[in-house]
């Protein structure tokens, strides 16, 4: 029995396959979160309504992370379809990662940050230029044909790719939705431009290369047993198009939300502004 999804060259079927390594990893993450909540309550520390809402975000983030990693999407992405590989990547970096960050209360992170003296490192990583470049370096490195063909053929390599993707997603979203307020960039304009450049613009370059390549770039997907007769070239084109424009709904929705909140704050009369508290997610 395999413990993590990887390319196997076996014919694709919809027969369920269990991957204990994925289950253990996901349950460990959920268990750690639940345990932290339990310890927080046992100490009698206050829990705000906003903190309670964070549990929903975390649950949603974990559900999507699990969906992207496990059968069937994880199996299809690891060894059959470049398109599924791209869907996985986008779920990891653009959906699950921000939800997980939104789902983690500040009191859960700050003690660890202080204990291991990570403030300086995190501050540097949370700078938009560093986070944006770091995220895109991972994007380019992990979608290069050599990397995909090397890492996807082993379970350990496949797991490493998944972990790196998640970490790069967390890095991307830290300047926007970090649990630690001081890591979020204060300027809405910078946040909008950052998100557009980091998550939207650069990905169009490799996406274009995949879309307009003369041949299938990934040996893994070119020589994989076909799924519903979808050719390797068509599959790669779909993956490229997804990489180019799949992020648009997410990126532009978030940019719109940032802009709308900023505009609402700016144009609110001074008298009412002093009465209305800062939105919870902005705190």
């Amino acid at each position: 029995m395999s413990w993590w999804c990887s390319a196997t060259r076996e014919p694709w079927t919809w027969a369920f396959r269990a991957y204990p390594g994925i289950w253990i990893t996901m349950l460990s993450l959920i268990g750690a979160y639940v345990w932290a909540w339990h310890r927080h309550r046992r100490r009698g520390l206050p829990v705000s309504p906003d903190d309670r809402r964070k549990r929903l975000w975390f649950g949603l983030g974990m559900a999507l992370l699990w969906l992207a990693t496990d059968w069937p999407l994880g199996v299809l992405g690891a060894g059959y379809l470049a398109t599924a590989h791209m869907v996985q990547y986008m779920l990891y970096t653009l959906v699950a990662a921000p939800l997980l960050l939104l789902g983690i209360p500040e009191w859960m992170v700050r003690p660890a940050v202080e204990r291991f003296q990570l403030e300086g490192v995190l501050r540097r990583l949370a700078r938009p230029v560093v986070a944006g470049v770091g995220y895109n370096l991972v994007l380019l490195a992990t979608h290069a044909p050599f990397t995909v063909d090397t890492f996807r053929t082993s379970q350990l390599g496949s797991m490493a790719l998944d972990v790196v993707w998640l970490l790069s997603g967390l890095l991307l979203w830290t300047p926007l939705v970090s649990p630690l307020q001081e890591l979020r960039h204060p300027s809405p304009a910078v946040r909008c431009v950052y998100l557009f450049l980091a998550a939207g613009a650069i990905a169009m370059v490799p996406g274009g290369m995949l879309t307009f390549a003369d041949f299938p770039l990934y040996r893994t997907y070119e020589l994989a047993p076909r799924v519903y007769g979808l050719s390797a070239s068509d599959d790669q084109q779909m993956a490229g198009i997804l990489m180019k424009i799949g992020n648009i709904p997410i990126v532009w929705t978030v940019i719109f939300v940032i802009f709308a909140r900023w505009a609402t704050r700016e144009w609110r009369p001074a008298s009412s502004a002093s009465k209305v508290p800062t939105p919870a997610s902005e705190r």
């Binding site: 076996e10 979608h143 290069a144 650069i202 370059v205 003369d214 299938p216 040996r219 020589l223 007769g229």
Partner: protein, 253 residues
């Protein structure tokens, strides 16, 4: 605006520039901020790293296809030494008519693959790869698929399956003895069927290579499973132009 007293008159000098400090010509001390802020340098370095990464991605994504002028380079297939003559066998095509392989394909660049339509992995991938590659090169090639499972691969079944990859592909079947003879004539290992499972399904172990017969009627190369589209696109035009490998100099890649 700065005022300077000259004698009894007052000279008024206007300027948008700030007054120059007296120690302006002294070297800056270490405590003063550098001329170029560190964040600008860091941004340039990170931007450069990103640019290099994009360039590396582009290079890594470049295919190895160098075109027909690349003759004399490596071949993706294994070069057979010595090259065998084009084999002769008669099987049945997908219309049910007899097909004399040697007579029908003589003088043509021919790819021959032995497999079966129920094959779950190798056969569909090999045929799909060849079909896609042939869409990218203008080379006259005969692609012949010979079944190793004649019990299930009737002419009708072969017709729909083989032509789902390309209308130009040729599917051949026959009785078990004739099919085995064809494999032996080509120099392929004769396929072996496994025991059927409870549902009557079974796999057939067969050679996964594609035999290439050049226009001079010689079986010269075998392309293994794993041969990619770009390999075919690089090699087929050279083979069609009689630039086939010299066994004395070529090494299998």
């Amino acid at each position: 605006m700065f005022r300077t007293r000259v004698g009894d008159n007052v000279l008024i000098v206007t300027s948008t520039l700030p007054p120059v400090p007296l120690d302006a010509d002294r070297p800056q001390s270490a405590s003063q901020p550098p001329v170029v802020p560190r964040w600008v340098i860091a941004s340039f370095l990170l931007g450069g790293a990103l640019f290099l990464a994009i360039a590396a991605f582009a290079l890594a994504s470049r295919t190895g296809h160098e075109g027909p002028s690349d003759a004399g380079g490596e071949w993706a297939g294994r070069v057979l030494e010595p090259a065998q003559p084009r084999p002769s066998f008669i099987l049945t095509d997908t219309s049910g008519a007899p097909y004399d392989f040697e007579a029908q394909t003589r003088g043509h660049l021919t790819l021959v693959f032995f497999g079966y339509t129920n094959c779950p992995d190798v056969c569909p991938v090999q045929l799909a790869t060849i079909a896609q590659a042939l869409q990218k090169v203008d080379v006259p090639v005969e692609v012949v698929f010979v079944t190793t499972d004649p019990a299930r691969d009737t002419p009708e079944r072969l017709d729909s399956w083989v032509h789902s990859f390309s209308r130009d592909f040729i599917g051949l079947t026959g009785d078990q003895t004739a099919v085995e003879a064809a494999q032996q004539a080509m120099g392929a290992t004769v396929a072996v069927a496994q025991e059927p499972n409870s549902r009557g399904d079974y796999l057939v172990g067969h050679t996964s290579g594609v035999f290439v017969i050049t226009p001079d009627d010689r079986v010269r190369l075998v392309y293994p499973f794993g041969t990619r589209q770009e390999d075919w696109v690089r090699d087929l035009p050279r083979l069609a132009k009689a630039q086939w490998p010299d066994p004395s100099t070529e090494r299998p890649s």
